[in-house]
Symmetry: C2
Subunit: 200 residues, 2 copies
Amino acid sequence: MNTTTAPGKRAATREMILDRAYAMACNDGLEGLSIGTLAQAADMSKSGVFAHFGSREDLQLAVLELGAQRFMDNVLLPALKTPRGLPRLRAIVENWCDWAQRYERGCVLLSAVGEYDGRDGALHDAVVRQQSGWRGQLEKAIGQAVDEAHLGRGTDVSQLAFEIYAFMLVLHHDAGLFGFEEARRRTLSAVDRLFASYRT
Amino acid sequence: MNTTTAPGKRAATREMILDRAYAMACNDGLEGLSIGTLAQAADMSKSGVFAHFGSREDLQLAVLELGAQRFMDNVLLPALKTPRGLPRLRAIVENWCDWAQRYERGCVLLSAVGEYDGRDGALHDAVVRQQSGWRGQLEKAIGQAVDEAHLGRGTDVSQLAFEIYAFMLVLHHDAGLFGFEEARRRTLSAVDRLFASYRT
DNA sequence: GAAAAGAACGAACGGTCGTTCTATTTTCAG
DNA sequence: CTGAAAATAGAACGACCGTTCGTTCTTTTC
């Protein structure tokens, strides 16, 4: 009857496996994912896990995609409820901070950049696609802030997206090394200075 | 006679191995280092390579230290020839950009942060020590710029170091994903805006 | 309730990993 | 030139890797 929601056993266990895999990849990166360890975490046999993905690479791709979807669901989507322009931009940054806190031990998407930016292959392509997609979303939100006259008319949208991204990168970086709270404080302070300097 | 410089065969081949290992770690990270592949690159046997370091971990530590030393030699040291204050700060940033360009495929020190910030162990400790040491150097150079009245008296030294570091992080990030030249342009532009906003 | 289809298992494969041990070669002082 | 010491080679180890395959258990369908 219901074609889209019909869970079926297969899809259900696949999601369960992916959930475990995502948790593992948060700590050890996508390269640290091993099917044996994952099977153990999922209370299944190696071959049982393997059968749900044709290869380790496809598993990694699925985990990466799950990460991207969760990032969007937690950072971008909730921010769409606040009015477009600077308020929404601030909401994105704050949600992003919460994301960084939740994944203080390591964000799958971010470690994937480090793992695959120098290589080539399907994972590299997926990372680039995902990163440039998110950067685009950020630029779109910035563009709206310009349209709403919350930011100066001459604002270089890509440049500002670049700079915001920089502060979120260093947030992840410093949170992992020196502790989250100070990093969060410095990040929000830096972003505030940034927005102020781009105001009309 | 000469106690400090006596090279000896041992030290020489050890350096040769480390040089190869460093090059490998630039592409694959410290976790990607395998003794077998390294031995192949060094035209030696696995056990021959292994004998120079008591364990893989000690090898990784040695490579990390070599990376830190080379970073200092290429980024900080040359900048000490320019007058302290803003000029030296700019020199550091420019040398850092060159560093990022040379290691566009991946910087050992940076990927080490991603690989070990969530774990614990000797490598984690070494990464933290090395990163906070470098941040301290950066803060020292900024403090001098304040003393020279190149930057405002009320400058938050740690905050500015945090922000500069952010732009160098995103430089590495974007250079690997989207190409170096645009990333360099945006980074220098961002740093200029930053310095201007901290002026007296 | 039997038959067909799907999902998970368990064993095994060839390979690579870090590490250990012994033998061989190379280095260097006397 | 000789003999001790250091450096390297080579083989082997147990463990884990991703993957394959045939079997077994479970679910669905008629």
